[in-house]
Amino acid sequence: MKIKDKVLPPVVLTIICIVISALVIGVHKLTYVDSTGVLTDKLKSGYKDIFGKDSSCIMLTEDNEGVTEVVTYNEAITSILVDKENNTCAFEFIADGYQKEGIHLLVGIDEKGEIQGISFIEVGETKGIGTKIQENSFVKKFLNITTANEADKIDDITGATYSSKGMKDAVKLAVSTYTENKEAIFSE
């Protein structure tokens, strides 16, 4: 009995860990869909909300050594959608509001460099408070601003400081990245 009760516990615990981690990794393998660099239809419909029905866009990618990589110039941006004909583009963000990765939004910038519109793909903020950032009374303030400190002057929604701060940071980043590498985006 002595050796058995010395050896058995670690063996049982190890077996359980192996089985559980194998199960979870298996489930992860089945369910994980790698959506980076794929122009999902949600993004397309978001783009259309901003730039009107007939606009179409492609995702800005470049392929180095055969692997097509999403060009983002800043790792906080998830991807950039570009419409070469009428020189418009949109920046996709997954921003942290009150919840981690709570706000998934697209910031559209037209050919004059002003913000044409903002469309929300997914908002996980607390209902009734955080979700107020979607109301166009708040979004309207962001329209046709061109520089980062203009976005800074917009005051937050009372009670939803985290959510509005998250959104404002995203807009500021979009505008500043746009001004810096405007040519590169529309070049090739």
Binding site: K6, P9, P10, L13, T14, I15, C17, I20, S21, I25
Partner: protein, 262 residues
């Protein structure tokens, strides 16, 4: 197969955890005699202190150390049997004890000095001119003993505590709680008792309570083994001499001495 590596890592974490736990529990093992747990399980765990120890845990330690097994009054027969079987000591007989209330002054035989509206507890009402009843050392009737009794054997009926002999296990918690010390623990077979403990002189007791003992010493003369004596105005039975003959029950004109049926 890039997911074999995480599974291996998790397996090592599990193995390390298991080994660490067994090693640590081996090194730091506190030697406890497993009989102690069994003893603790058999005891009723109401920590009443009737065995003289501060709680069932301490009594279990004592029994492990050789104390005899029949001190647990509430447990009664089967606890004694189990304890002695665990300790494989021959089983000693444990006498069954019961609690008795030494006061008969309920609301239709005695009156009230004032209407008490304070905190409903004997101890609290005892602070105001020792209770709301005219008799100062009678049962206060607010049920402190009821709250304390683990078996729920006591109930207040017409403002006097009545103990149900079947349910009572003789743990003695009510004895400690009664502010006027009216409850006594006694072996079950000695059931002749003086149902009064009023220290007032005869004339006063007669006036305030029809069931009161006036100290007339009739019972003292009648008792064949003079086991009963009147001390500070009420009769007290010395149970070492008393033979349960019941002579004093008839002798007492006011029916203060009663023989309770088992």
């Amino acid at each position: 197969m890039d997911y074999i590596l995480p599974v291996l890592v998790f397996a090592t974490i599990g193995a390390v955890a298991g080994i660490l736990l067994t090693v640590v529990s081996k090194i730091f093992e506190v030697k406890t005699d497993e009989r102690l747990e069994m003893l603790q399980e058999t005891l009723p765990n109401i920590n009443c202190g009737a065995c003289g120890y501060s709680g069932c845990g301490d009594y279990a330690q004592a029994v492990l150390g050789g104390e005899d097994c029949n001190l647990c009054k509430p447990g009664g027969e089967n606890v004694v049997k189990k304890l002695s079987s665990i300790m494989d000591v021959e089983e000693k007989k444990s006498e069954i004890v019961k609690a008795f209330v030494k006061c008969g002054g309920d609301c239709n035989v005695t009156a009230k000095k004032y209407v008490y509206k304070g905190i409903q507890s004997c101890r609290a009402s005892n602070q105001f001119y020792s209770g709301s009843k005219v008799c100062t050392n009678g049962c206060l009737g607010f049920g402190d003993c009821v709250n304390v009794c683990p078996e729920g054997a006591i109930c207040i009926d017409n403002e006097i505590a009545v103990i149900n002999p079947i349910k009572c296990v003789g743990c003695g918690l009510c004895v400690k709680t009664c502010p006027n010390n009216l409850i006594v623990i006694r072996p079950e077979h000695q059931n002749v008792e003086v149902v009064c403990s009023s220290t007032d002189i005869g004339k006063v007791t007669r006036a305030i309570c029809r069931n009161g003992c006036i100290g007339c010493k009739m019972c003292e003369r009648k008792c064949p083994v003079n086991a009963i004596k009147v001390e500070n105005n009420f009769a007290i039975i010395d149970y070492s001499k008393c033979t349960n003959c019941g002579e004093c029950v008839e002798a007492c004109k006011f029916g203060v001495i009663k023989k309770s049926s088992i």
